[in-house]
Amino acid sequence: MINVNISLYGAFRRLGVQQLSLEISDESTVADLRDCMAKYLENIDANISVHLVKTSAFATDERVLKEEDRVAGLKCLAILPPVCGG
């Protein structure tokens, strides 16, 4: 198992913390991380919909990740809700 820190943006700021720390298996993909995060938020009864987790992207400081990307070894993970800049 590895520990990953995920920076929070946009509506995820409602959680009141800068980052979430989750424990996932070494083999986990971004899809697995997404499931893990959804379950975590359900467990703590956060005021964040599962739909928001499903429609968010995961990214590093370098790029938006694909569902099949392995999480182990990636630095500076973040979850990015649908965007609305401008």
């Binding site: 920076s7 590093t60 370098e62 649908p82 965007v83 800049g85």
Partner: protein, 152 residues
């Protein structure tokens, strides 16, 4: 000179500072560019029927600046290596009327300047990691819905 070594200048920023139109114009002015298009986005006083007092802009600065640079390089590749760009998105709490976004493009000719400017704003709406929390006069706030980010 290929698309990755263009002659035109590019500056991008995600910043908490007030945006600076004069610096944008000075940066992009070039004696071979006769057409300059500046897009300014400002905070509007009403959205979907609700009276807005301010907007809190959240953004992923490092990834955001990388994506803004990519967008400018894409525009240079499509419309001209000698085009110049200054693109700044402001972050933090902005009152109604304040400037949230500057997109300045200069080009030898106006058609490419208009096209590149429009490309940048539309791509920013789709790809830039920025989020808006509207603060209403009635006191409540809301994170706005947006566009799902796709990996490229």
């Amino acid at each position: 000179m290929g698309r990755f070594n263009p002659m035109g200048k590019i500056l991008v920023a995600m910043t908490e500072s007030v945006l600076d139109v004069q610096k944008a114009i000075a940066h992009c002015r070039s004696e071979d560019c006769g057409a300059e298009i500046l897009f300014i986005g400002t905070v509007r006083n009403i959205n979907e029927g609700r009276a807005v007092s301010a907007v809190n802009y959240d953004g992923h600065k490092v990834l955001g600046e990388k994506i803004l640079l990519e967008l400018c390089l894409e525009a240079q590749a499509q419309w001209g290596d000698n085009m110049n760009f200054w693109v700044e998105h402001r972050l933090g709490v902005l009152k109604v009327g304040e400037e949230s976004l500057l997109i300045h493009v200069t080009s030898p000719h106006r058609d490419s300047a208009y096209q590149a400017s429009r490309y940048l704003i539309e791509q920013i709406k789709l790809r830039l990691p920025v989020w808006k929390e509207e603060i209403y006069w009635e006191g409540d706030t809301e994170w706005l819905k947006g566009q799902i980010l796709n990996q490229i």
